[in-house]
């Protein structure tokens, strides 16, 4: 089941299946080595639709809520 990043819970794992952003978002993610197929862990979300933090390998990145909604993840147990 694919869902967007904001719907994952803290500590859950997943694999990115789609980034529905424009070129800018794709590009920003790519410079950090995060792209389609990358496995990630959700580290935290902030109150009231604040930024979402994820970890991929040893890289951590905080992403604004709106952008995080456009990153689709396949949930992994």
């Amino acid at each position: 089941m694919a869902m967007d990043l904001t719907r994952m819970r803290e500590g859950e794992r997943g694999k990115i299946v789609d980034i529905q952003g424009g070129w800018g978002l794709l590009r920003k993610m790519e410079t950090l080595g995060i792209k389609q197929g990358t496995e990630i862990v959700k580290v935290s979300s902030q109150l009231m639709r604040g930024p979402i933090t994820i970890r991929a390998g040893n890289t951590q990145v905080a992403i604004g809520f709106g952008m995080a909604r456009r990153i689709m993840v396949e949930h992994k147990k």
């Binding site: 803290e10 978002l25 590009r27 920003k28 790519e30 410079t31 950090l32 080595g33 792209k35 580290v43 935290s44 902030q46 109150l47 009231m48 639709r49 604040g50 930024p51 933090t53 390998g57 040893n58 890289t59 951590q60 990145v61 905080a62 992403i63 604004g64 809520f65 709106g66 952008m67």
Partner: protein, 573 residues
Amino acid sequence: MRKVLLMGSPNVGKSVVFSRLTGVNVISSNYPGTTVEFSKGYMRIGNEKVEVIDVPGTYSLEPTSKAEQIAVEILQDSIASQNGIVVNIVDGTNLERNLNLTLQLLKKNIPVIVDLNFWDETKHLGISIDIKELEKIFNVPVVPTSAVSGEGIKELVDRLAEAKAMTYDYPEEEKWHEIGKIIERVQKVTQRHHTLLERIADASIRPLTGIPIALGAVYITFRLIRFIGEGLVGYLFEPIFEKIWAPIIMKLSFILGSGGFIHDILIGRVSAGKIEFFESFGILTTGLYVPFAAVLPYVFAFYLVLSIFEDSGYLPRLGVLADKMMHQVGLHGLGIISMLLGLGCNVPGALATRVMETERERFISATLMAIAVPCIAQIAMIVGLVGKYGAKALMLVFGTLFLVWIVIGILMNRLLKGESPEIFVEIPPYRIPYFGALAKKLWMRVKGFLKEAIPFVLLGVFIVNILYSLKIIDFLSKLAGPVIKNLLGLPSGAVAALVVGFLRKDVAVGMLVPLGLTLKQLVIASVVLAMYFPCAATFAVLVKELGVRDMAKSAVIMIFSAIFVGGLLNLIL
């Protein structure tokens, strides 16, 4: 002179390598025509002296920001003049994504050596990298280092001469596939447990634990700055001025005949055979006492603490936690970092607005900072002046400024067209700061303060004396006095402070001392002085950053809000 360019992504420990390679003679300068800063130093290769450039961090050679563009330009210059070596600093714990830049550099016609940094951390993280294999693939030297402990730096220097230009060819659209293949050949990762630092790292970015940690950090910061600042004032600078400098000045005063024009400019007023360094207002008395004894200790303390926060990797986390709040004033979370810098000095704070994505954000952040974020020099003077009346009095001044910050921020966010972009920021792991790099940065900042402040302070004191003796202050006081008196409830003598405030805010606050103001007047004067206009140095930078038109808009907001807030305080206090 040959050049060594240190290139790498942000957060790869570039500046630590830089400070390991270079000696004390380090210059931080702006790239011509811009406000992007980079550091330059020197090192020796054999008997040859070469220049080392700490190139702004860049994720790739296709720039997306001003700083990245500068990085690419510095590289192109060096390729064109055929006199450069690139030390590509790579985060060994994030090899895969770092190789993107490495491959791009290997395509350029310039000698490259790869520095695989954080080597000690890769071991803790269960990552093993086959260096020999990596060297074989790239055909350039690959040196593992742990810059913080210094391990591997000597080998890096020794092997600089082996750096060579290579053409590692692969189709551009296949780059991640290519990188994937390399990673498979050279890297093995074994499972491992979370370290304590990682647990703290996770805790400090989750709201439930992160917000208390942030508040605690702010509290400790204030205590630490006060402790260090007061310690330096009480045990070092005040004794120096009172015990050593005062007798010398008294002798000089005697030699100069205890009065007259030259005497008054150099020494100022001497009352009852004693010098009040805050009040006498001579160049050699107040002119030196304000920057050195009253302000420098706090500047030092502030930048020490700020630099530790920067180098440990905490600030991006603070940005994430503050993101929601900052959006209320039209900025995203990282806007808080330029505000923090502004608390040190508005000049670097204004320069830091450069990293913001849109013009709207730059305008909001520069205006907010200039109005409601007093610099540490001004804060130190206000604390010295108003602090006598206790913490409540200080709360009145700084609480008012914080309220002003919020209200004007919300208003600008509502009234200005456009939206603020969302945050997107890498969160680096926590790292123990390297003392050498910290000391160098601190020294550069303190030096920057002295270079910026002392000429302006001395000039300020000089001009005040001239204006007084030409009766210009009297004239201005008569002119503006009624407004100041009726609206703000301040004596007409405060006009002089407002005039000097255009030059230097700390001196301006100092000029309130001899006026014998009441607490209410002190609070109003401090707030108005902070708000009404930026000091000359900040003004110059803001004009460059915002352009004349936006600066004029910003100035209108400053002047009117200062009069409004000052008048309001006069009514309600």
